[in-house]
């Protein structure tokens, strides 16, 4: 077995979730890494949409920002940001919303707004961005984030984006059209909502990860599926593609100059 890091396992596991040909609304960072890795491996026909406007972006390196020039230059077309949110997301054209998170709870709700009290924040996070409506409107939502006790919390400090609300049929009662989060991919495992309660349940452990490790990194008493499996490790070609992508990205973003002093 090739040696690989937890980050590599997470990126590969997340990329595998994307079926070829699906239309994917991509958040920056881990989601963008996973979506582009998918496009460069098993899903060449995946359509990547970024909230800045590119539809069908095919970057050769990972964008550092949500609006890098290469996203526009390689897209089928670039529309305005209002059009992205109105015609494409709210219009119901997105199969998969691919999101990151600062905090997540057992029902896949997300906080990217604030740690502590909104009015007296301990840490002010960047805020909602496109996430609330991506989480609401995409037919399915994938969430990718590192698995830590600070991230996987018993209770969110702030609900920025709704996953399965308070569980059960809460999402439908809120009138949210999409199915909500169907998988959460971390550097330790995969979690999927229980069909009934919608509580996130660990369905796969990444190779070499113990249940206990996941339990300790989760802020609620996390459940494990009866048919818990072990994630297939990254294949050599998946790893090669990912490392190649990261190398090209570092070269591209590092080579520019312009130091602030």
């Amino acid at each position: 077995m090739t040696d690989f890091s937890a980050s590599e396992m997470m990126a590969v596991a997340a990329a595998r979730m994307l079926r070829d040909g699906t239309v994917c609304f991509v958040g920056i960072g881990l989601p963008s890494t996973a979506a582009n890795l998918a496009r460069l491996t098993h899903a060449p026909e995946v359509v990547l949409i970024y909230e800045s406007g590119p539809i069908g972006a095919k970057p050769s390196v990972l964008p550092l920002s949500i609006g890098d020039g290469e996203l526009a230059a390689t897209a089928d077309t670039v529309v305005s940001t209002p059009e992205i949110f109105r015609y494409w997301l709210q219009g119901g054209r997105i199969d998969i919303g691919f999101l990151g998170a600062a905090q997540i709870d057992r029902f896949g709700n997300i906080n990217t707004t604030v740690i502590g009290d909104y009015r007296k924040p301990k840490v002010r996070l960047p805020g909602a961005g496109g996430a609330p409506e991506i989480a609401a409107m995409a037919k399915e939502v994938f969430i990718v984030l590192r698995h830590t006790r600070r991230a996987f919390v018993e209770e969110l400090d702030f609900v920025t984006s709704v996953g399965h609300g308070t569980g059960g049929d809460s999402r439908a009662r809120l009138g949210l059209p999409g199915a909500g989060p169907t998988v959460v991919i971390t550097d330790l495992c995969l979690l999927r909502p229980d069909p009934e309660t919608k509580e996130l349940v660990v369905t796969a452990l990444h190779p070499g990860i113990a249940r206990d490790q996941v339990a300790r990194a989760t802020g609620w008493p996390v459940r494990f599926a009866a048919d818990l499996v072990v994630t297939e490790p990254p294949t050599p070609s998946e790893l090669a593609a990912l490392r190649d992508l990261w190398r090209r990205t570092a070269e591209a973003h590092g080579e520019t100059s312009g130091e602030g002093s």
Binding site: E70, L71, R124, G127
Partner: protein, 288 residues
């Protein structure tokens, strides 16, 4: 009708203390030079509006120009936090910053409403989130045909919109392309509009259905080469990712931030001098 003027004159004539100002740009074409000029002219009590406040808003906030921020995502894209923004929100330094916080979808729709002469926008948003609890400008109404519940937000109608574009012609017609963000909507929603451009040309030679802002919706056009740096201008120069990373260090400490701003912004006459002072070489576009 657009007047072609210097950025200094445009900011002096068109931005007043207490104004609501939208310096828009979605990663691409962010009007950094114009932001600097607001700081140089010590504009105060501004209500700043923008979907994605980044470094230039961090600078405006850190220099105490802003009273309030209407926004949907405030960070240093690809790097992390905006330290001056956080210091204002978490500690009230250098002054408290009132927040009106939205999602991108809502704020984008609010600009559309402003551009469309409406007082509010209707969208599917916010259901189940905590945002409405902290923003009284998020309300709900029902479809008069189906009874479904929708979110409503007030239109954004800035006193001044400020954007950067690739080109203008001598008559003041503006052309931009690539990632457009909400810039057209910001200009059309605003009472006055300032556009900085990379160059002023004889003929725009715009492709069919391009994003052209005719001169009768623009108040001032100002030629400021590299005026979007460290953001980028497609067809002209690349995003200066190193500067965004460097900003994390510069802005982390109140004193270092202040010294840097005084030295490179307050004590320089314009953006060209700033670039020289700060030792910035604007990166060329990467060949594909």
């Amino acid at each position: 009708m657009a007047e072609i003027t210097s950025l200094r004159e445009a900011i002096a004539a068109l931005v007043r203390d207490g104004d609501t100002v939208a310096c828009e740009g979605f990663t691409h074409l962010i009007p950094h030079a114009a932001g600097h000029e607001l700081i140089r002219q010590n504009k105060r009590d501004l209500t700043l509006v923008r979907l994605t406040p980044d470094v230039i808003y961090d600078q405006l906030i850190g220099m105490g120009c802003a009273r309030k921020l209407v926004f949907s995502w405030g960070g240093n894209p690809g790097v992390g936090s905006l330290h001056r923004f956080r210091d204002a929100v978490e500690n009230g330094h250098p002054r408290p910053l009132e927040l009106e916080e939205h999602s991108h979808a809502a704020l984008a729709n609010a600009y559309v409403a402003g551009a469309s002469g409406l007082t509010f926008a209707v969208l599917r948003a916010y259901a189940g989130t905590d945002l409405p609890a902290y923003n009284s400008n998020i309300r709900f109404l029902r479809c008069p045909f189906t009874g479904e519940e929708y979110a409503a937000v007030p239109a954004v109608r800035p006193d001044v919109a400020i954007i950067h574009a690739q080109k203008a012609d001598r008559r003041g017609n503006v052309l931009l392309w690539g990632i457009l963000g909400v810039q057209k909507e910001a200009v059309l929603a605003a009472k006055r509009a300032i556009v900085t451009v990379e160059e002023i040309v004889e003929e725009l030679d715009a492709p069919p259905n391009a994003c052209v802002l005719p001169r009768f919706v623009v108040t001032a056009v100002c030629r400021v080469p590299f005026g979007a740096h460290p953001s980028y201008a497609q067809g002209y120069y690349a995003r200066d990712n190193r500067f965004y990373r460097a900003w994390d260090d510069i802005s982390r400490d109140r004193e270092r931030f202040r010294e840097w701003m005084v030295r490179h912004v307050l004590e320089t006459a314009d953006f060209a001098e700033y670039l020289r002072s700060a030792g910035i070489t604007v990166p060329p576009e990467r060949s594909a």
